[in-house]
């Protein structure tokens, strides 16, 4: 197991492994996305209060979930990279940061678009919205910090520490709606126990969440492969690949 892990984290092996995995992940993404979109936009009935406006849930919830999941993934990768000095970890972090930032921005924008007709305001400084905005700034901070430090190893270390410190924001985002009075509603999906959404609306939502996760995996692997080629452009196996 340890040996296998060590082998996989070498750039060349990971590059080939990712290449073999990509078509499968891509196919899964397309299937799930097709079902999720059709189910969410056509099959699911309108909500009793919000009518068709509730359908933004099929983009908003997966985006918000991914924005937090990607951050945790990056923080874990950064910690592993710090402890074991694995170069691949930093490449994964570099590849994920813009993705995480985009999902966070999308979650904020879709939420705002829904908030105006439903709540009556584009933006409210409640705990959930503010902590999600801080998450966006954390992502932008990681991206900025990386490009501000020319030395790659030092940049990786600085980003890793920022990521590890910032991970405290994740439970705050998740529990903000329970700890404080917020305008944002509580969680609809429950990991344990029954969700507070009708099954006919739930299934497309779960499909969309899975589709977004696989989409993230696909783009992450593509970007990481690109990063590997960029960093190892002088090594022999990359030159051989070119010819």
């Amino acid at each position: 197991m340890w040996l296998w892990f060590n082998k996989l984290t070498t750039s060349k092996v990971f590059y080939q492994f990712a290449g073999r995995l990509l078509p499968w992940l891509g196919a899964l993404t397309i299937i799930l996305l097709a079902y999720g979109l059709y189910g969410g936009l056509v099959l699911a009935p309108p909500d009793y209060q919000q009518g068709d406006a509730f359908r933004i849930i099929y983009v908003h919830v997966p985006c918000a979930l991914l924005s937090m999941m990607i951050y945790v993934f990056m923080a874990v990768a950064a910690a592993v990279g710090l402890i074991f000095r694995i170069k691949l970890a930093d490449m994964l972090v570099t590849a994920s940061a813009p993705l995480g930032a985009s999902f966070t921005l999308l979650a904020l924008v879709t939420g705002s678009l829904w908030g105006k007709p439903m709540w009556g305001a584009w933006w409210v400084w409640d705990a959930r919205l503010t902590s999600e905005l801080i998450l966006l700034f954390l992502y932008l901070g990681v991206i900025a910090l990386r490009s501000a430090i020319p030395d790659r190893e030092q940049a990786a270390k600085a980003c890793a520490i920022l990521l590890i410190v910032g991970v405290i924001n994740i439970p705050i985002i998740h529990y903000s709606v329970y700890w404080w009075n917020t305008l944002h509603q509580g969680a609809t999906l429950k990991l344990f126990g029954s969700s507070l959404i009708a099954p006919s609306m739930l299934h497309p939502l779960l499909a969309m969440i899975a589709a977004f996760i696989f989409y993230f995996a696909v783009v992450l692997l593509l970007r990481t492969r690109c990063e590997i080629l960029k960093r190892e452009r002088k090594s022999r196996w990359v030159l051989e690949l070119k010819n």
């Binding site: 919000q50 402890i83 439903m118 009556g120 590890i164 404080w180 305008l183 509580g186 959404i197 009708a198």
Partner: protein
């Protein structure tokens, strides 16, 4: 995992726990400022700032909404099932506003303890269901 790895892992765990404690203390200290709104019971207990703008949150009391015939002025009660506050508002209400619905109103208390709202926001709950299910539930109840 050798000796050095273990040391680094412990260091990272230490950083995380220190930051968690710091954040926990800061949030605990700011608790009142992070709450978006005061409930009618908190206002009755005198916790809301007098002569200051603040937000009031609760349910719109059943059969309490009165629309003025000649203007946008509307009055309604906001309750948390223990205490209630009368709210006066002059403007367009959000789509989700209805009796029994949660709302958050921005404004201040006047001298007669009526809440003069500048803005009324509707709070949506975490339940999603088709219209047919809702009517079915209503029939089952009555």
């Amino acid at each position: 995992m050798n000796h050095i790895h273990k040391q680094r892992a412990i260091l990272i765990a230490l950083i995380i726990s220190c930051v968690a404690i710091a954040a926990g203390l800061a949030l605990y200290a700011l608790q009142q400022n992070i709450n978006l709104f005061y409930s009618p019971s908190q206002i009755a207990a005198g916790q809301a700032p007098p002569a200051h703008e603040f937000r009031l949150g609760g349910l719109v009391q059943m059969h309490s909404v009165h629309h003025d015939n000649n203007s946008l002025r509307v009055t309604f009660g906001v309750t948390d099932n223990k205490n209630s506050v009368l709210v006066q508002y002059n403007g367009v209400l959000p789509d989700l506003f209805r009796e029994g619905q949660s709302v958050v109103a921005d404004g201040r208390l006047d001298s007669h303890n009526v809440f003069i709202a500048d803005q009324v926001l509707a709070k949506h709950d975490e339940r999603y269901m088709p219209a047919a299910v809702k009517t079915f539930l209503k029939q089952a109840k009555s």
